[in-house]
Amino acid sequence: MSNKMHIKLKVNGKDEEFLADPRELLIYTLRERLNITGPHIGCETSHCGACTVTIDGKSVKACTMFVAQASGKEITTIEGIGGPDDLHPLQTAFKEHHGLQCGYCTPGMITRAAKLLEENPNPTEEEIRFGMAGNICRCTGYQNIIKSIQAAAAEMNAAKEAAE
């Protein structure tokens, strides 16, 4: 008898349904089963944040969550945040302000930052530093990441104001 579990997920707006071992980690589901390779693996211990995704409105590190724990939930990865035809302001700002170098932390970093700006559209530098402390970058020293997030926040707020 199989001990596989019946999993249902909605990933970047698309319904997914499959059988998985109870021990299957969400990050492998995304990367290997669903070929969503934006989220990366950096530490397997929830420290680095390269695997950050959004699950039902919360930032989650996919390397330490079983896919079974995510069953029934909605997941957004970097691929669901913006693409070539609909770039998220953070994606534009990270390029504009040199907020990345090797790019390995970037998907998790932007996914987390998008969530942070939803929670707090006008963060201070200190709030950004605290809110991003779960995502490690080895290349940039964070200074330009902070700058990118501030620029995206300003851009998003201006767009919101213009729309109102």
Partner: protein
């Protein structure tokens, strides 16, 4: 209305040298479309992983793989016995030693590779690893190099002759069975004499602790042997793909043309990805054995415990001076802990790297350096973590010795540096330990830095703080960290730099397309430095086509010209020079084509931004775009069709970037927490290609310096257990711990580099570590501190305060 295109517009359109061009790499990275090695998925691909030793030193009595082979999904288990018939159970290291691929009778460090389990996926491989039974017999463990040199315990029986004698190693005679080499530079006798007769001598011993480059992406590869065509393709996190191809060919016997090595996007390297690791060899063998592609990816613990530690230098120094502070001599001895195998990634003739740059930025007439390499039961490696070969160690040593001497002389450390700097007019300057510094203007940089931070004001504030502390008004001390560094990068001239016999030149090949765009391929490989952006800028200025019309490609050995890769800040000094030189070949041919088209003599046209113009008649010109098309559609007498060039550049000398860093720090003596109030970094990397990217490199290098100085270490207990095997224990700073940095620059072009550039990626790490450390030490100077060892984590800072009686 007339839209006149000015010369300035034409220059701006190129986005060439000096332009903060936005990076072309970023579109894919920001959208999650990077292509890193673990993103590679091939039909039928298997996954390999290691059984690793829990012991730091043990004999292997037996390995039983039977149960593992019964585990569902497990296809094969390789041990040294399986590799031995192929001659692959050991492999050469980059340092002239050899290293076990899989444990051959014993293990020498915790985490050492014992067996390789090949399975259908990672989970099955992990199950297989659990089922492999290894019977170990524990042996005495040595984790201290000084003990190793006294111990009867032989770590490397393979390096002792049958009669018990010690044959010489790759770098000369060995003094003891656990000794690897002695390497010397400078003059011992004269240095001893100068120091013995000096007016003032300062001495200090310091330990530059073991740490690890720890890029966010670990090492890994995918090996795919196509048995039909006899071709091996190897994707991997390789900082030197061509060198890996040659090594794989040499050890496997597969001819080099049948091996294609590809470095895809690399998630940071910092030196970790220079070496050749057992995982690469085992993946290749497993692919040959199974006939299927095999992937191997380290997890973080594998990475921190086994591949590529950095530093671990025990340094003792003497520095002599006149009473006025003029330095007369310097002596340095290093006991270097290399772990179980000597796998340091250094040019062959430099077993201690460029440690002999340890006279720093100072005009020191007499010096002597001696380095003893030693085996211990620790992981092999000894890579250059964000620095040229052992330059962080050298710069840390001299920048600490200067501070210690300043204390002895009761002198201001900034002034002591100033009166000893090599003067501008002394360049090119031959240092006492042999290097010829190409260029520098240290006084200008230092004065600019001191003025920028109001150095005198800071010292006055610090003196007041000490008074306030003594009066019980504050519990925070203030430290001012100074550092002035000279790097030696761009290895290197083939006459003295090679790795495994491969000269350390680099290369660039350019093809101009008929419609005036281009592709250039290089022997280097970006790991975040932005080569696709900056090399196109070098080329844009050289050949007059816009950077946006130039594709840069690296990392595929089937298409790129041979090069030695990216590390030691060598890409701009060596491959950047090759790029400029190849561009000049393009330009030379373009000049002939332009002259033909303009019906004048070759010498009657001259290059102007993006075109050739007839001298004295600027209205007569041909743009590079027009020339490119003509190269493909005109039959020009005496000129071959097409417009391509290749350059292999052997640099005449290293380049010597330098910089002045100042850190202002407040330290809470009761918690040991340092707070970085200000960090000013002035870098001189010669000609600046892309200021935005330079600044980004400086921020990143300083942050890695902060990590190393303030907490990051690979620590072992007495049993050889790694105590820092995850990111729980191994310190990587987050946004919360890192300050904002102020960057500044001067420009002293390299006189021998085609565009005057020197390299910058590693300078901030090299100069940053002593700057952060000096700030901590300086805070305690008024209370009698001369030196404490890094890393200055909260506990050690607290302990320093405690030992100085500041908690009484």
């Amino acid at each position: 209305m007339k839209d006149e295109v000015t010369r300035e517009d034409r220059v701006a359109n190129l986005k060439g040298l000096g332009c903060s061009r936005k990076r072309v790499e970023d579109a894919r990275f920001t959208q999650g479309k990077g292509n890193y090695v673990d993103d590679i998925k091939l039909d039928g691909m298997l996954f390999g992983d290691f059984v690793r030793s829990p012991y730091a030193h043990a004999r292997i009595k037996s390995i039983d793989t039977a149960a593992a082979l019964e585990v569902p999904g497990v296809l094969a288990v390789l041990t040294a016995a399986d590799l031995e018939p192929l001659g692959l159970h050991w492999m050469p290291t980059l340092a002239g030693d050899k290293q076990m691929v899989l444990a051959d009778g014993k293990v020498l460090f915790q985490g050492q590779e014992v067996a390789f389990v090949v399975a259908e996926d990672r989970y099955a491989a992990a199950d297989g690893i659990e089922a492999v039974e290894v019977d170990y017999e524990e042996l005495p463990v040595i984790v201290n190099p000084f003990e190793a040199l006294k111990s009867d315990v032989v770590l490397r029986e393979d390096l002792v002759a049958e009669d018990g004698s010690i044959p010489p190693g790759a770098h000369g005679p060995r003094k003891h069975h656990n000794h690897i080499f002695t390497w010397e530079a400078g003059d011992k006798g004269p240095t001893d004499e100068v120091i013995a007769n000096a007016e003032v001598v300062a001495e200090e011993s310091m330990y530059y602790h073991r740490t690890h480059p720890c890029p966010l992406e670990t090492c890994g590869c995918v090996a795919s042997m196509d048995k039909v065509n006899g071709k091996l393709t190897l994707w991997g996190t390789f900082q030197a793909p061509h060198a890996i191809r040659t090594i794989v060919s040499l050890i496997s016997g597969i001819e080099e043309h049948n091996i294609r090595v590809i470095s895809p996007d690399i998630g940071g390297g910092f030196g970790n990805k220079v070496g050749a690791y057992p995982g690469y060899v085992c993946s290749v063998v497993a692919s040959i054995v199974t006939g299927k592609p095999v992937k191997w990816i380290e997890d973080r613990m594998d990475n921190l415990m086994t591949t590529a530690f950095a530093r671990d230098y025990h340094m003792t120094g003497q520095i002599s001076a006149t009473k006025e502070g003029k330095i007369t001599g310097l002596k340095c001895h290093v006991t270097a802990d290399h772990g179980g195998f000597d796998a340091c990634a250094d040019p062959t003739k430099f077993p201690a790297g460029f440690m002999n740059i340890c006279t720093g930025s100072y005009d020191i007439p007499t010096a002597y350096l001696e380095v003893d390499g030693v085996y211990t039961n620790k992981a092999p490696g000894g890579v250059s973590y964000r620095c040229s070969f052992r330059v962080t160690e050298a710069v840390y040593f001299i920048e600490r010795m200067i501070e210690v001497l300043a204390i002895k002389l009761n002198m201001d450390a900034a002034e002591l540096r100033r009166i000893n700097f090599i003067r501008k007019e002394q360049f090119p300057y031959t240092a006492a330990l042999g290097w010829e510094y190409d260029s520098g203007d240290y006084h200008t940089a230092w004065d600019k830095a001191l003025k920028a931070v109001d150095y005198d004001g800071l010292r006055a504030e610090q003196a007041q703080r000490v008074e306030d502390f003594k009066a019980g008004k504050t519990r925070k001390l203030m430290g001012i960290g100074l550092s002035f560094f000279t790097e030696i990068v761009g290895a290197g001239p083939v006459k003295n730099c090679d790795i495994l016999g491969l000269g350390m030149f680099d290369s660039c090949e350019i093809r101009i397309h008929p419609t005036g765009s281009a592709i250039a391929r290089l022997g280097t490989i970006s790991q975040g430095q932005g080569h696709a952006t900056t090399f196109a800028q070098i080329l844009a200025s050289e050949i007059g086509l816009p950077a946006d019309s130039i594709t840069i490609e690296e990392g595929d050995t089937d298409t790129a010209p041979y090069g030695l890769g990216t590390y030691g800040s060598r890409s701009t000094p060596v491959a950047g020079a090759a790029t400029a030189m190849a561009g000049r070949k393009i330009r030379a041919k373009a000049q002939m084509i332009a002259a033909y088209l303009l019906e004048v003599h070759d010498n009657d046209v001259e290059f102007d931004v993006d075109r050739f113009v007839v001298k004295g008649a600027p209205e007569k010109f041909k743009t590079m775009k027009e020339i490119a098309f003509a190269a493909y559609n005109q039959a020009i007498p005496g000129i071959e069709p097409g417009l391509e060039a290749v350059s292999y550049y052997d640099p005449p000398n290293m380049t010597y970037p330098f910089g002045a860093y100042i850190c202002v720090m407040d330290i809470d003596v009761d918690t040991g927490v340092p707070e970085i109030r200000r960090f000013y970094a002035l870098d001189d990397c010669g000609t600046r290609i892309n200021p935005m990217i330079i600044e980004g490199q400086v921020h990143g290098g300083l942050t890695e310096a902060l990590a190393v100085a303030l907490g990051q270490e690979i620590a072992y207990d007495d049993m050889g257990n790694v105590k820092t095997g995850t990111l729980m224990d191994f310190f990587l700073p987050t946004a919360w711990e890192v300050p904002n940095y102020e960057t500044d620059f001067t420009v002293t072009p390299s006189p021998h580099h085609p565009i005057g550039a020197k390299g910058v990626g590693e300078s901030p790490h090299v100069g940053g570590v002593p700057c952060f450390s000096n700030a901590v030490q300086d805070a305690f100077r008024p209370f009698g501190n001369t030196h404490t060892n890094m890393p200055h984590d909260h506990w050690r800072i607290w302990r320093t305060a405690n030992e100085l009686g500041l908690h009484d």
